[in-house]
């Protein structure tokens, strides 16, 4: 039996606070119709002050463990762009708060592709027999890094977390991660990111007046790349799976923008209604968007056990990727 990493649990968490488009329109030059027509987003969840990414990650992680009916794992990987602080990593605190003991725990930084990179990393730990079971969490609190005056990013991003438990199993089992395609292009690093706060431009008293602490994104420039990269990665993993594109029952793409989701489907000649769409209610939740969209698609009935599903994402870095699998019989919590 070929060893593989198998999805055995799925959990999600959204902070309770909701910000609607009308709420944004009260403080910014925007309105519900403008946001909906450009992004497809109607509202997003925003964490209360004092709530950090670890708080969301712990909630999603707890639910994923319960969904998998397990109390222990050998490793925790947290995909995030918004760790609790620059150093140390957030994952060890998450593991500790989940009562997982002295397990391997680290953060993974691949922006909106982080969850897919984390799946690939976890699958590697399992393949190498370093771990039998891994908790993979995507959690982000973008509300903390957005420019309060930037209507384009504030309309798009929301906070949230999602997690899966991967266990060692057989490649033929439902839920076994199939072919994974991961890629990057650092030549586009300036298109999505935060300029200040790192080693190139640290926050110090003498540089603070020139610092830009906010997340910036060249939306229109990355739109085309996002569509073409996700479509290409999807084709790659479909081909490596021995499937044909029409075999794909559900496409769970990073929830960046409804128009991107539709353009990806069009490029692949897939009906648009095969795309999981969750962003209308939660916005773009960065590393959390794929597990959140999976849970939503499973609860709506769009995604059912046995379905052929492709996960695909694109984000800062630039990074992108895709993964194919047959959906297992798991209950999302």
């Amino acid at each position: 039996m070929n060893r593989a990493a198998v999805v055995s649990g799925l959990g999600t968490w959204l902070p309770p606070g909701v910000v609607t488009n009308d709420d944004l329109a009260r403080e910014l030059d925007t309105d519900d119709a403008w946001i909906r027509s450009r992004t497809g987003i109607g509202r997003r969840h925003i964490a209360d002050p004092g709530t950090a990414t670890s708080d969301l990650a712990v909630e999603a992680g707890r639910r994923a463990l319960k969904s998998a009916s397990v109390e222990s794992v050998d490793a925790v990987i947290l995909a995030t762009t918004t760790p609790d602080q620059l150093c140390p990593a957030t994952a060890p605190q998450v593991a500790d708060r989940l009562g997982l003991g002295p397990v391997a725990a680290f953060d993974l930084s691949a922006v909106c592709t982080g969850f897919l990179y984390a799946l690939g990393t976890a699958a590697g730990l399992i393949a190498a027999r370093t771990a039998e079971r891994v908790l993979v969490i995507g959690a982000d609190t973008y509300s903390r890094i957005l420019d309060p005056a930037d209507r384009s990013t504030r309309a798009i991003f929301g906070d949230g977390a999602g997690a899966v438990v991967l266990r060692a199993g057989g490649a033929e089992e439902p839920g076994a991660l199939g072919p994974l395609d991961l890629a990057s292009d650092g030549g586009g690093a300036e298109l999505i990111g935060i300029a200040s706060g790192g080693s190139r431009s640290p926050f110090r008293a003498d540089t603070l007046d020139r610092a830009d602490p906010y997340f910036r994104m060249e939306g229109p420039t990355v739109f085309r790349q996002a569509v073409e990269r996700m479509a290409h990665s999807t084709r790659t993993v479909v081909q490596r799976s021995g499937w044909q594109l029409p075999d794909v029952d559900v496409l769970v793409a990073h929830q960046a923008n409804l128009r991107i989701l539709h353009a990806v489907a069009d490029q692949l000649h897939l009906e648009r209604d095969r795309c999981a769409v969750h962003l209308d209610r939660v916005g773009n939740t960065a590393a959390a968007s794929i597990p959140l969209a999976l849970a939503d698609a499973a609860s709506s009935g769009l995604l059912r056990p046995g379905h052929r599903v492709v996960l695909t994402a694109f984000g800062g870095g630039l990074t992108w990727g895709a993964c194919a699998l047959r959906w297992p019989d798991v209950t999302a919590l």
């Binding site: 450009r38 939306g219 229109p220 739109f223 085309r224 569509v227 073409e228 128009r259 353009a263 069009d266 490029q267």
Partner: protein, 82 residues
């Protein structure tokens, strides 16, 4: 069907325009296509005509007839190379 007609059909289909609202000397800006819509049109036109198109090929200020000419030249080039 000419490249112009196919492009006009694609525009109508993709952006909910009436086919008879579209005239050869209209620019994309006059049809109220914003920057995202031009990217969407570029991607859809690549698919429709099976040629590679850059952002500049379908610019906001080019007319639909001009864009059709650019696409037609690429189609001819691709056919000659094949």
């Amino acid at each position: 069907m000419t490249v112009y007609d196919r492009l006009a059909d694609l525009l109508a289909r993709s952006f909910g325009l009436q086919r008879d609202e579209i005239e050869p000397d209209y620019t994309f800006a006059e049809l109220e296509l914003d920057s995202l819509a031009l990217v969407e049109l570029t991607l859809a036109a690549q698919d429709e005509f099976s040629v590679a198109l850059s952002e500049d090929d379908l610019g906001a200020e080019s007319t639909i007839a001009q864009a059709a000419k650019v696409i037609e030249a690429k189609v001819v080039e691709a056919t000659a190379a094949a």
